[in-house]
C-alpha cells in the first residue's frame, strides 16, 4: 500500500469518531436551544391567555383547539400546575403524528381557578437529525476530498526529492564508478537520507575500486613469477641428463604452469572488460570477424572434422571496441567447435539484429543459468578454463546486448541480440 493511501486512510479513521461526537453534541445543543425558544413563546402565549381570561364575562371553558391542547379550562379547585411537556398528536391533514410542546399552568382570577394550556408545534427531531446528517455528510466528504488533495499535493511537492533520490538509486550502475548527485532538498529528513546514501555509495565505490585494482594488480604481479617458472622450465628441458621419468614430471609442471598463465590472462581480461578499459570504439564488421574465426578454428579443430555453415543477411556493422568484438565472436565460435562432436556441424546466422551460433553436441549436465558463471564447466570439458563464456557475458553486458542459450534436438544454440 502506498504511503499516501495509508495516511489518507488513517485520517479517515480518525475523522469518523470525531464526526460522531460532533454530531451528537451539535444535535443536543440545537435541540436545547430550539426547546428554550419554544418554551419562551409558550410563556408569552400563556400571558396572552391570562389577559383573555381577565376580559372574559364569566368563568367558562374555552377550547381553542379540538385536541384541547390550547384551552382555558375552569378547575374545580386550586391545583398546582406549571409544566412544559412534549406531546404527540395525530394530524389528519398531515396524515402523521406531529410533535407539540405543551405548557400547562394554573391561573386564579375573580375567584375562579383556571388551567391554561398552550401549545406550539415542537421540534421534529427526525428532521433535525436528517438535516444534520446531511450537513455532516457534506463536511465529511469535503474533509476526505481535502485529505486526498492535500496528500496528493504533498506527495507531488514534499516527496519530490525522495522520489528523485529513489530514481537515481534505481538507475545507478556500480560499474560506472561515478558518484550519485542527489538533488538538494529543504526537508531535513531527505537531506539526512541523501547524506547517508552519499556516504554509503562513496564507500561502495571505493571498496569496489580497491577490489578491482586488487584483482588487476594480483594478476599483474603473478605474471613475473610465472615468467620465471616458465623460463626455468624452458632451460631445464634442455638438459641432456633427463630421463623419461624426469621428463614426465616436467611435463606435468609445464602443463600446470601453462594453465595458470592462461587462467591469469583470462581473469585479467575479464577484469579489464569489467573496468571498461577497452575504450576505443569503432565500426566493426561482424561478417569479417565471423569468417576469420571460422577459418582459425576450423584449422585448430581440423581433427574433429566439423562442417561449418554461415548465413549472412544484410551487413552487420556495429560500433564496438574491435578487441572485444573479436573476443565475443571468437569465444562463441571456439565454443561451438570445442563442445562439438566428432564429424559434427556448426552454423552461424548473422543479421543486423542478432547472431545465432548453433552446434551439435551432447546435452549439458550443468544448468543453462550456470553456463555463464565463472569456472562453471560441463563435466566433459575438464581441461577448459571455464572462463570463455564469462568473457562473452561480460562483453554482452558491456554493450547491453542480450544472450540466450537453448538446447533443442541435439543442438546447442546461443543467440546474441544486439538491441
Amino acid at each position: 500500500m502506498r504511503l499516501i493511501t495509508k495516511t489518507t486512510l488513517l485520517y479517515f479513521l480518525i475523522s469518523i469518531p470525531l464526526l460522531i461526537f460532533a454530531f451528537v453534541y451539535t444535535f443536543s445543543v440545537i435541540n436545547e436551544e430550539i426547546t428554550d425558544g419554544t418554551d419562551e413563546g409558550l410563556y408569552r402565549e400563556k400571558l396572552n391567555m391570562q389577559e383573555l381570561i381577565k376580559n372574559l364575562d364569566g368563568a367558562r371553558n374555552i377550547y381553542l383547539r379540538s385536541d384541547s391542547l390550547t384551552a382555558i379550562i375552569v378547575l374545580p379547585g386550586k391545583k398546582k400546575i406549571n409544566s412544559f411537556s412534549d406531546t404527540v398528536v395525530y394530524d389528519k391533514l398531515e396524515e402523521g403524528e406531529l410533535r407539540y410542546r405543551v405548557h400547562r399552568s394554573y391561573f386564579f382570577h375573580n375567584g375562579t381557578h383556571y388551567l391554561i394550556s398552550v401549545c406550539k408545534p415542537g421540534m421534529e427531531e427526525e428532521e433535525l437529525k436528517e438535516g444534520l446528517i446531511y450537513c455532516f455528510s457534506i463536511v465529511f466528504g469535503l474533509l476526505l476530498l481535502s485529505f486526498f488533495t492535500l496528500n496528493i499535493l504533498a506527495s507531488r511537492i514534499l516527496w519530490k526529492p525522495f522520489r528523485s533520490t529513489l530514481k537515481k538509486l534505481d538507475a545507478y550502475d556500480i560499474n560506472a564508478m561515478s558518484e550519485i548527485k542527489f538533488d538538494p532538498s529543504s526537508t531535513k529528513e531527505f537531506r539526512q537520507l541523501n547524506t547517508s546514501l552519499d556516504k554509503m555509495t562513496q564507500k561502495i565505490i571505493s571498496d569496489y575500486r580497491k577490489q578491482k585494482e586488487f584483482t588487476e594488480n594480483a594478476s599483474h604481479e603473478l605474471q613475473t613469477p610465472l615468467a620465471v617458472i616458465k623460463s626455468k622450465l624452458d632451460l631445464l628441458i634442455q638438459s641432456k641428463k633427463l630421463g623419461s621419468e624426469e621428463l614426465e614430471l616436467l611435463q606435468g609442471m609445464e602443463n600446470a604452469v601453462q594453465k595458470i598463465s592462461a587462467l591469469n590472462k583470462a581473469l585479467l581480461l575479464l577484469t579489464k572488460i569489467e573496468n571498461n578499459q577497452f575504450k576505443e570504439q569503432k565500426e566493426v564488421n561482424l561478417h569479417t570477424l565471423v569468417n576469420a574465426a571460422i577459418v582459425t578454428y576450423s584449422d585448430i579443430y581440423q581433427g574433429k572434422g566439423i562442417t561449418s555453415r554461415t548465413e549472412f543477411k544484410g551487413e552487420t556493422i556495429l560500433r564496438m571496441n574491435p578487441v572485444l568484438a573479436d573476443l565475443l565472436i571468437s569465444n562463441l565460435i571456439q565454443n561451438a567447435f570445442r563442445h562439438n562432436k566428432e564429424n559434427g556441424e556448426m552454423r552461424v546466422e548473422l543479421d543486423p539484429e542478432k547472431l545465432v551460433i548453433s552446434n551439435s553436441g551432447a546435452a549439458l549436465n550443468i544448468s543453462a543459468d550456470e553456463l555463464f558463471e565463472r569456472f562453471k564447466k560441463n563435466d566433459g570439458a575438464k581441461e577448459s578454463l571455464g572462463l570463455g563464456l564469462s568473457i562473452v557475458k561480460s562483453i554482452i553486458d558491456t554493450y547491453g546486448f542480450g544472450i540466450e542459450y537453448t538446447y533443442i534436438q541435439g543442438q546447442h544454440r546461443f543467440t546474441v541480440k544486439f538491441n
Binding site: H220, E221, Q223, T224, L226, A227, V228, I229, K230, S231, K232, L233, D234, L235, I237, Q238, S244, L247, E248, L250, Q251, E254, N255, V257, Q258, K259, S261, A262, K265, L268, K272, Q277, F278, T296, Y297, D299, I300, Y301, Q302, G303, V323, S330, Q334, R338, A381, E383, S384
Partner: protein, 226 residues
C-alpha cells in the same frame, strides 16, 4: 651479435641470459633504469630487450632514448602488462616487437632471430640449413632446391623449429606460437600433432631428412647436430 637485456627480476634475467648465451649471443644486462640508459648510450647493440616496469623509471623512456640516438638496435618490449595501450605506445615509439610475460624462452629466441634477420638484411636473406632453404620474406621453403608447398601453420612451425634448432621446444610453446591467443591446452596437442605430421610428410617427400625428434611427452627437438 650483442644483446642488451633490461630486466629487474634477477631470476628471469638469469634465465634469459643463459638461454641467449647458449644461442651464441653476447648478452649484457641492466637491472634498473639508470644502468640501462648508460649502457644503451655507451655501446651499440643488435638487439635490446626492455621490460617496461623498471625501478626508478619506465622502459618506454629507454626506447625513446635509443630512437633519439639513432640506434640501429632492434627493440623488443617484454612486459608484465599485456595491455594494448602499452603495446601501441611502445610500437609507436619505435619498438619492433612486444612480448607479454610470461613467455617461453624459445618464443623470445624466435622473435630475436626474426628481428635481427629483418634488420640486418632487410629480410632479403635465406636461411640455409643443410638441404633446407627458407626464404622468410616470401614465406617459401625449398628442399634440395625444390619448392615445398606448406600451409601457413606448417611454415610457421618449421621456422619456429629452425629458429630453435638443437633446442627442446615444448608443445605448449609451439601451441602458443602457432595459435597465439587462441591457444588452448585441451585442444592444442592434437593440433600440433596434425600439423607436424603433415610437415614431416611434405619435407620427407622431397627427400629431406627427418630432423624432428620427439622428446618424451614434453616437446620436440629439431636436431641438426650430432
Amino acid at each position: 651479435m650483442k644483446i642488451l637485456l633490461v630486466e629487474d627480476e634477477p631470476e628471469l634475467r638469469r634465465s634469459i641470459k643463459q638461454f641467449l648465451y647458449e644461442e651464441g649471443y653476447v648478452v649484457e644486462s641492466a637491472d634498473d633504469f639508470a644502468k640501462a640508459t648508460e649502457k644503451a648510450a655507451d655501446y651499440d647493440y643488435d638487439c635490446v630487450l626492455v621490460d617496461i616496469t623498471l625501478p626508478k623509471g619506465n622502459g618506454l623512456d629507454i626506447v625513446k632514448q635509443l630512437k633519439k640516438n639513432n640506434s640501429k638496435a632492434g627493440i623488443i618490449i617484454i612486459s608484465a602488462k599485456n595491455s594494448l595501450d602499452d603495446k601501441i605506445t611502445g610500437l609507436d615509439l619505435g619498438a619492433d616487437d612486444y612480448l607479454p610475460k610470461p613467455f617461453h624462452l624459445s618464443e623470445l629466441n624466435a622473435r630475436i632471430k626474426a628481428l635481427i634477420r629483418r634488420r640486418n638484411f632487410d629480410g632479403n636473406q635465406s636461411i640455409n640449413l643443410n638441404e633446407i632453404t627458407i626464404l622468410p620474406e616470401e614465406r617459401r621453403v625449398k628442399v634440395k632446391n625444390e619448392e615445398v608447398s606448406l600451409t601457413t601453420k606448417e611454415y610457421d612451425l618449421l621456422l619456429y623449429f629452425v629458429s630453435n634448432k638443437n633446442r627442446v621446444v615444448s608443445k605448449n610453446s609451439i601451441a602458443e606460437h602457432l595459435m597465439g591467443d587462441h591457444a588452448d591446452q585441451a585442444d592444442s596437442h592434437d593440433f600440433i600433432y596434425t600439423h607436424l605430421k603433415n610437415l614431416r610428410k611434405k619435407l620427407s617427400e622431397k627427400g629431406c631428412k627427418d630432423y624432428v625428434q620427439t622428446i618424451y611427452g614434453i616437446g620436440y627437438n629439431f636436431k641438426t647436430e650430432g
